[in-house]
């Protein structure tokens, strides 16, 4: 199985703030890889930089065999990468169906129907609510919509930034189940999570980011049982 994403020595700044200080990691095809870390560690910054929303000052990002540094965000989805961003960012004034249509913006019209059926199969709730305006969905439904929207582009790599944020425990379980299903069906997943326990339990490998650096890496199981990780991120 080949390497689908390779990040090497990434440095990202916000003005003078050095937010990412030499992050390196990789994701292989078919894996679930998770980035965990405290608030403000730089997880979202890393994801947004990979997706092209932020420009790195230094470092290399290779996706599917070619460098994507400097490629604008709107071209990334055509290369097979989708980011389900932090805070969901669904289009609140568009209907559920219209949001999904936007997710399929990069796809030829003839293939959209099939993807739509697949997304509805994962999230039957979205089908029921297809005509409803996204702004009136519950938080959990908005998260499903955000994930469904990202899936509509049929990505090779799906990046999820805190998909469980603000959800009730039962919904969190459901979201993680779906992530596993998607992965089984062939989508490679890069997952950022506050909920480190859940994330590590489904991940093949994980990386711990602390203040802009990778401080630790290992398989999901290794990190789950690592003392430092337990103290810092799993509540002892």
């Amino acid at each position: 199985m080949g390497e689908i994403l390779k990040v090497s020595d990434l440095h990202v700044y916000y003005g003078n703030i050095h937010a990412i200080k030499g992050v390196s990691f990789n994701v292989n095809e078919g894996e679930i890889v998770t980035l965990i870390g405290a608030n403000g560690a730089g997880k979202t910054t890393t994801m947004n930089t990979i997706a092209g929303l932020l420009k790195p000052r230094q470092g290399e990002i290779e996706f599917d065999g070619s460098s994507i540094v400097g490629v604008p965000a709107h071209k990334m989805v055509y290369k097979g990468m989708a980011l389900c961003p932090e805070g969901r960012r669904v289009f609140l004034q568009l209907s559920v169906k219209e949001n999904l249509d936007m997710g399929a913006y990069s796809r030829p019209a003839a293939e959209i129907e099939e993807s739509l059926e697949k997304v509805y199969a994962h999230f039957p709730r979205l089908k029921e609510r297809s005509k409803q305006v996204a702004g009136t969905l519950s938080g959990g439904e908005q998260q499903m919509l955000a994930m469904g929207r990202a899936l509509m582009s049929k990505p090779k790599l799906l990046m999820l930034d805190e998909p469980s944020m603000g959800l009730a425990p039962i919904l969190v379980e459901e979201i993680f189940e779906i992530i596993k299903e998607l992965n089984k069906a062939g989508t490679t997943i890069l997952l950022v999570e506050q909920n480190a326990r859940m994330a590590l339990s489904i991940a093949d490998r994980g990386y711990v980011i602390s203040t802009g650096n990778i401080s630790l890496t290992g398989t999901g199981q290794e990190l789950l049982t690592n003392d430092d990780v337990r103290k810092a991120y799993l509540g002892g």
């Binding site: 997706a51 092209g52 929303l53 604008p72 965000a73 709107h74 071209k75 990334m76 989805v77 055509y78 989708a82 980011l83 961003p85 805070g87 960012r89 669904v90 289009f91 609140l92 004034q93 568009l94 219209e98 249509d101 936007m102 997710g103 913006y105 990069s106 702004g135 969905l137 519950s138 938080g139 908005q142 929207r149 990202a150 582009s153 603000g166």
Partner: protein, 292 residues
């Protein structure tokens, strides 16, 4: 009867404001900026129609199409040269630039066409006026209202039914998320300027057919009033531009007829201020709460 007559004239004038207001509101919605130079695009549209029709003797339709094409290209060019380099700059910097563009266009017009008043011919005179009892509706008014309805229906259909139109709404809501979908935001912004400026050309011809004074500052007053109308209706909202425009036109004409011609503009702006005190987002302005 005189009241109804005034009302209809107000709706006619308001329809022009509504068409211009669309340009402000769409650009604001997508690019999050006040295109202060929008009024001057109207002026240029007026001169292009005037020159092609009067000097070159082109048929009405050809003159209108020429005006639309020139304005569309001008809108795209202004966006590309003046506003695009300022993406991400403070809104004050963008506003000052827009004011600069406005003066620039006025001075270009001054050089090309001088400050002498040109009397704009009624280019929609093919439409006869209609009389019902004491009420006479001029052909220009009929065409204007009709054009406004057509444009509103067209734009609403475009933004709600087409892929590109939906993409525009997505960009207006969340530029970053729209990019993640694969939408090229720069192209969307250019398209918005193109549509707004093309509409400005149509507004120019309708406005000048009713109020024929064409000078380099002709666009300022209808521009400012249409901007007011856009804010009045709720800036960023297409139906808001329609309602704001019509109300503004009606208030202006009624104020002229029943209160004072000199004070009519003051009354229009006073009404705007009052509305904004009670409803800061305008009549149809959106308040969206994000769910966490």
């Amino acid at each position: 009867m005189a009241f109804i007559q005034n009302l209809i004239n107000g709706i006619g004038l308001g329809s022009v404001y509504a068409i211009i207001a669309l340009g402000y509101t769409m650009v604001y919605g997508i690019a999050k900026m006040l295109n202060f130079a929008h009024g001057d695009i109207i002026m240029i549209g007026g001169y292009v129609a005037f020159c092609t029709y009067t000097y070159l003797g082109w048929p009405v339709v050809a003159a209108i199409v020429a005006s639309i094409i020139i304005c569309t290209l001008l809108g795209i060019t202004v966006e590309f040269l003046a506003y695009k380099p300022l993406r991400g700059a403070t809104s004050l910097a963008v506003l000052i630039t827009a004011i600069g563009v406005s003066y620039f266009l006025q001075n270009i017009a001054l050089i090309i066409w001088t400050s002498n008043t040109k009397s704009f011919p009624n280019m929609v005179s093919f439409m006869p006026s209609v009389s019902i009892g004491d009420i006479t509706i001029s052909g220009t008014t009929i065409i204007t209202i009709f054009a406004c309805i057509l444009i509103m229906v067209g734009l609403t259909t475009f933004t709600s039914k087409t892929k590109l139109g939906k993409a525009m709404r997505a960009v207006s809501e969340d530029r970053g998320a729209a990019e993640l979908m694969g939408i090229n935001v720069n192209v969307t912004i250019s398209l918005t300027f193109a549509i707004g400026s093309g509409l400005a050309a149509i507004a120019a011809i309708l406005f000048l057919s009713a109020y024929p004074t064409l000078i380099p500052t002709t666009g300022s007053m209808p521009g400012i009033k249409a901007f007011t109308a856009a804010v009045f209706g709720g800036i960023g909202s297409i139906p808001g531009a329609l309602i704001g425009g019509i109300l503004l036109g009606v208030i202006e004409i009624l104020a002229k007829a029943y209160i004072s011609t000199q004070l009519s503009d003051a009354i229009v702006f006073a009404v705007l201020i009052i509305v904004l005190i009670f409803k800061p987002t305008g009549l149809l302005g959106k308040k969206i709460r994000e769910k966490v």
